[in-house]
Amino acid sequence: MDFDLRFPIGILFTAYGAILTVFGAVSNGSEIYKKSLGDNINLQWGILLLVFGVFMLTLAIRARRKKP
């Protein structure tokens, strides 16, 4: 089967990461972060998800390039 799960994982988490990073940046300093002890957890965790998602996508694309 030529299905590579790293693509959907990569797409999902790149999307989540991008959304949370952008929202985190826009909402920086907002009241909503009182809950998370004042940390802008959306921005921090968003960047981490983005890195993970892009890493998975990179692996999947590299694997596809190797194959003819």
């Binding site: 089967m1 299905f3 929202f23």
Partner: protein, 566 residues
């Protein structure tokens, strides 16, 4: 907790929406690979080992597991890790090293079919029927729990949540079959880890780290083993019941014989990968207590923290409902955004739990019941049709079970009790079947029945708590034939029940086998019994990827974790 305690914003909904689009998308992409009934039901030889490994783990990691383990974390503390380090890892390694060769290496397409080849049709029929009922019932239970939770937390309509969830699961399972279920389970694995980790990180930060949390908890909560056998023992179990009942009978009975998890390993590309599947699963399994048990401990410690304003909410009965630990912590700590991610993770694990049960059900139904007893010798396209029909049917029956669970009090407790009776002895049958060629079909079948009977009787004569004269417990908890044996917790009673059922089945299978004739020749049992199967040639694999070598390393790591959190 009142209704509507969690308010999702458009941001949170879009996070949920993206997940649903991706899983249904996976189903559609996989559809073109589904050319035969076996593609749809078995996915044999097609799935990479890191995927089967993580799916093996996630198939067991339904939302009820996540929610239940957090509840136990709040009730018992770190001793709950026994369900992982003692109650899972050794069994997973045993399956990988010793038992997988007989599942993957034989012609069997399912666990019940292994019993048919090794013993006879009646043993298969018994196992298949029990398994089929069990999978749709747990799928229904999972569906009900999800809809009830969404209603409680988000104020969603119960019926709409139930039907909408079923349609999503149906959409991707019907398109991509077992492959769909396996791939989405892995997606769910990453969602659970990445969605719940912030909860643990923020929670521990809030409490002043691990030691800060522990300073607010009873000393017994910090240890896995130290308080076993003392009067301070949170679970009320002694070491023999723990090691033999949980660590051997229940754990091996589940991990080494339950088709739901073994089906994942059987989809691997080759024998080596099939055997490495449970070992790969064991690595994250070992670390899962930190994601699912620690939140329970955080919740309890947080209640002790001055000014936190947090309590574990009450359920519908008005008593503290420990099952609400995870949702209430999500509401307490996570702002919109991460809130959507965590809620999506929770819903994803309910859905993939349901998909897992449905894909195991349709296989056992199609091959072990329909093809074996109703219509054999039909064309592959006929069985493909039946498999899809069984998928739809399985989901409809699950919905039915969900409504039964909603409307009949205690029905799920009762079913769990019955499944417990049926499952407790089953590992004895497989152990003797695989390692003793003299075990016969009559021995296996009647041994199993005796074991189940022993479990029922034991339940009738034992009580989960000491009773004074005239005092009774509800019959569902036991002692309906009188409280002749008493324990200090229902867990201890349950472990002993398993020990008794297993021992009776083990002894009776041997006795009956010795008095009955073998109907299978040595030639027929080749590939099914240890002593009659040629050793697997592993010479072409380097030592460090061989299952036995990896298994020893993982076991050593589990021992180290036990020592650290002694």
């Amino acid at each position: 907790m009142n209704t509507n305690t969690i308010n999702l914003t458009a941001l949170d909904y879009s996070i949920l929406g993206i997940y649903i689009l991706v899983v249904i998308g996976i189903g559609f992409v996989l559809k073109r690979h589904m050319k035969s009934a076996s593609d749809f039901l078995l996915s044999r030889g097609t799935i990479p080992v890191w995927v089967t490994g993580l799916a093996f783990l996630s198939a067991n990691l339904g939302a009820q597991e996540v929610i239940g383990m957090a509840a136990s974390g709040a009730k018992y503390g770190l001793m709950t890790s026994q369900f992982y380090w003692l109650g899972a890892i050794p069994a997973m390694i045993f399956l990988a090293v010793f038992m997988m060769p007989f599942y993957y290496g034989s012609r069997a397409r399912s666990v019940p079919e292994y019993l048919a080849l090794r013993f006879d049709e009646k043993t298969r029929g018994l196992n298949a029927a029990a398994f089929a009922v069990m999978t749709v019932a747990s799928s229904g239970a999972s569906l009900h729990a999800l809809a009830a939770l969404l209603h409680l937390l988000l104020g969603w309509n119960y019926n709409v949540s139930l039907i909408a969830t079923s349609i999503v699961v149906l959409a991707y399972v019907l398109k991509g079959g077992l492959s769909s279920a396996i791939y989405t389970e892995v997606l769910q694995f990453f969602l659970i880890v990445l969605g719940f980790a912030p909860l643990v990180i923020i929670g521990l930060n809030d409490l002043g780290g691990w030691s800060g949390m522990m300073s607010k908890l009873p000393e017994t909560y910090a240890h896995s083993w130290k308080y076993v056998d003392t009067t301070n023992n949170p679970m009320g179990v002694e070491w023999f019941a723990l090691v033999f009942g949980l660590g051997f009978v229940l754990s091996f009975g589940y991990w080494c014989t339950d088709f739901l998890v073994i089906q994942r390993a059987m989809a691997a590309k080759n024998m080596g990968d099939a055997r490495r599947t449970p070992i790969i699963a064991a690595v994250p399994k070992m670390l899962f207590p930190f994601i699912v048990i620690v939140p329970g401990m955080i919740a309890l410690a947080l209640m002790e923290k001055a000014g936190s304003g947090y309590t574990i909410p009450n359920g519908v009965t008005g008593e503290t409902d420990y099952n609400l630990v995870i949702p209430s912590l999500i509401a307490h700590y996570l702002p919109t955004g991460l809130l959507g991610l965590a809620m999506t993770a929770l819903m994803a694990s309910f859905m993939s739990g349901m998909a897992g049960n449905v894909t195991a059900f349709n296989t056992v139904w199609t091959y072990d019941i329909y093809q074996s007893y109703i219509a054999s010798g039909k064309s592959d396209s006929h069985y493909m049709w039946m498999a899809k029909f069984a998928t739809v049917g399985g989901i409809i029956i699950s919905i039915g079970f969900a409504y039964v669970a909603k409307n009949v009090d205690n029905i799920m407790d009762f079913l769990q009790l019955v499944f417990g009776f049926v499952n407790a002895p089953v590992f004895a049958t497989f152990l003797l079947g695989m390692f003793w060629k003299r075990a016969t079909g009559h021995g296996a079948f009647f041994g199993l029945l005796c074991g189940t009977m022993a479990a029922i009787i034991f339940h009738g004569i034992s009580s989960p708590m000491p009773l004074t004269a005239g005092e009774t417990v509800p019959w569902i908890k036991g002692a309906w034939l009188g409280a002749h044996i008493t324990y200090t917790s229902s867990m201890a009673q349950n472990f002993w029940l398993a020990i008794v059922a297993w021992s009776v089945c083990f002894v009776m299978t041997i006795v009956i086998s010795l008095f009955t004739k073998r109907i299978r020749t040595d030639e027929e049992l080749k590939g099914l019994v240890y002593t009659l199967t040629p050793k697997i040639k592993e010479a072409n694999e380097p030592v460090w990827v061989r299952p036995a070598f990896l298994g020893v390393i993982v076991l050593a790591a589990a021992v180290i974790l036990n020592i650290i959190f002694w």
